[in-house]
Symmetry: C2
Subunit: 411 residues, 2 copies
């Protein structure tokens, strides 16, 4: 593994010498190469699907694993979109001159070597490879074992373009050791790897967080709240709450717990009850909620649960302070919303709630790189440092200071 | 420890409610309080000094530990300077409106709870406390055991101001468990602690890096190079090389290895030899260097060593490419310099050398928060992510997105 990682690290130096135009052209060729190798990819995927059937994997998992012509075309199109993005490397982020006449420039540069650990979906292989290539990073991909053949076929199609241009194929690598031990070694190779991005279930992310010495950017759970304040516009409130829960319940920016101000609970809970029942939502409520509407009880565990399903916990709280306290205890720092027309209340919530995204009078469902205007999304970071919230391609860079002198020495 | 950390985390919420003016005023009062408690601090320091003598600590260590009236006045003044800095929290870093009319603002916020692990010097206690307070972060300080009494007396003087204003003293905390095990627990408490900044020897930093689950920003070694290119102005080259080595050899931005282009080695090495001998530098050279000037041999180990002393390794390399290769193998990513008048050579070096600070025609000794204009310096980060290079008070913040809507829901 060390030989392989050393080669990856060395390859990163060659990436630095490619111009923006060359990177764009190579990405376009990679899209073409994917289409060209369609048959080989589909054949590899059939092998994975056969294994998945044998191993009795769930139908949801098998659907995520499955490739057809249309999905491969989607992958190629995604690469072309990434090719068209503005180069994130070489942006002058800041610059100034200091007293002795030296000019200091803060410039964006690639991170270096990025390991991405993910599950089932083979399209992540090409997406992640393209995002890292566009940002001049070497990528080491570790997909799910069940997608091994598909991932290899995809990677080979991309690597063919690198080889045709005399570039090392390690620029887009698959981790050679696909075992759990392979991952455990990768995440401690801080000499060669600059960043690990784990994407997947809670267990994977916890394991990586506990054992990595390489810095990580997590894409962890989203336990999102919407708080309806006494000064809310009740129509907006109902519409935002419904949207946050039911528009796509299985994603991380969907609402899991609805917080209702005690001052308006009697008025709004029946309306919410009716609206959610119309969408078939399984409602659970605290004791105060149960006094007002007929729902199942919500316990401590419910408030800690990311349902990722059409289930909602409701809690009556004492004003914005109660909402902030609840979110401090149960929130995951992802996306939190308040519905209110009151300026001071809104400011307090937006200031004091610690989350990547805090919303006033809007649905938490908007936390998304595409919606934010970042183009292709690397993911949604639940880190507090480096990148927070929707992660665009600029977040795959770090910076250096370039200092221009004329013989200056320090007195 | 968990009860203590929970209190620290809770205290961070109260910090958010202080205005910039209140923070400035409290810091000024902390400076006054340090002066007021001068006698108690000096008494505590005498106890530490007695222990240090008993334990036979080196005179360098004892000098760093020692406090007198002047040093306490210096600490108070440093707090006043930090008080006067612009508040790093609440800066609008970016902002835009998206198609559905929602306004997105990216705003700087405190990181939360920061643990700082450091050695001997008691002034770090007040500096770090003031920098964290100014940036609305709770700080947990873990100083050296040998400075325990001094640190406690300093922290008490600062905490007195918090208590007088009805604020929790946990805002400026000393780690209650000063043992190695205490540190080991702290660095794995990612539920309560958002960032660990280890400052100190290599062993400490390696230990923390290997075992922390809390994100860390390292202040690691600086193995800095200066490369003198064939197209260098030789006078500038000699003056920059001398300055980078001898102006203050014991610090991380001092040069450890000088790289000389083979094309001009014969011309410049005798000049460098003479200049360095005049400054009493202990010179060591590669075989090619030894052919041209009379110096001791420099081996593989020398090129890996941060001397922190008036010792210099010299290596003859084949042009800028050889210099870049050498730095890739031996550099620590801190500060690297090239001396050349050639535009293309300079660009290549500045682009391809991966370090926090890359210099053209200037001494590496300028890598410093004060010189860069950041005001008080938190340190010099050798991280690649979050903060890189000189770390000012702005680097003690992260960000959140505030999204202002008007009832928007996702279609």
């Amino acid at each position: 593994m060390e030989t392989f990682l050393k080669a990856a690290k060395e390859a990163s130096a060659q990436l630095l010498r490619l111009t923006s135009g060359q990177k764009r052209q190579l990405l376009e060729e990679m899209a073409t190469s994917l289409r060209h190798h369609k048959e080989a990819i589909l054949q590899a995927n059939r092998e994975d699907m056969a294994y998945a059937k044998e191993a009795n994997l769930s139908s949801a998992l098998r659907d995520r694993l499955y490739l057809n012509e249309e999905r491969i075309e989607g992958m190629a199109k995604a690469i072309e979109e990434i090719a068209a993005l503005k180069d994130p490397v070489g942006r002058v982020l800041d610059g100034w001159e200091i007293e002795n006449g030296m000019r200091i420039e803060k410039v964006s540069i690639p991170i270096g070597v990025i390991g991405i650990i993910y599950e089932s979906r083979p399209n992540v292989t090409s997406d992640a490879a393209a995002l890292c290539f566009k940002s001049s990073n070497v990528v080491i991909l570790k997909g799910g074992k069940e997608a091994k053949n598909s991932n290899e076929a995809i990677a080979m199609a991309l690597q063919e373009v690198l080889i045709n241009h005399g570039l090392p194929k390690e620029i887009i690598s698959l981790l050679p050791d696909y075992s759990r031990e392979g991952v455990d070694r990768l995440i401690r190779m801080d000499r060669y790897v600059d960043l690990i991005i784990p994407r997947g279930g809670e267990a994977l992310i916890r394991h990586v967080s506990q054992h990595a010495t390489v810095p990580i950017v997590k894409h962890d759970k989203g336990l999102c709240h919407t708080y309806i304040d006494r000064d809310a516009d009740l129509n907006k409130a109902v519409s935002i709450a419904i949207n946050a829960k039911i528009q796509r319940p299985g994603v991380c920016n969907a609402m899991e717990t609805l917080l209702v101000d005690r001052a308006i609970a009697k008025e709004i809970l029946p309306k919410l009850h009716e609206a959610f029942l119309a969408h078939g939502t399984d409602l659970r409520g605290c004791a105060s909620t149960q006094e007002l509407i007929d729902v199942a009880p919500a316990g401590e565990e419910d408030f800690h649960t990311e349902y990722l399903d059409n289930i909602l916990s409701i809690k009556v709280v004492d004003g914005v302070e109660g909402a902030i306290d609840h979110i401090r205890t149960y929130g995951s720092g992802h996306s939190e919303a308040i519905v209110t027309e009151n300026y001071t209340t809104a400011e307090r919530f937006l200031n004091e709630v610690d989350a990547a995204c805090v919303y006033l009078n809007a649905s938490t469902r908007f936390t998304d790189g595409g919606v934010f205007g970042f183009g292709a999304e690397v993911g949604i970071s639940t880190n507090k440092l480096h990148a927070r919230g929707p992660m665009g391609i600029n977040d795959l860079t770090t910076y250096k200071y370039r200092i221009y002198g004329n013989g200056q020495i320090r007195e």
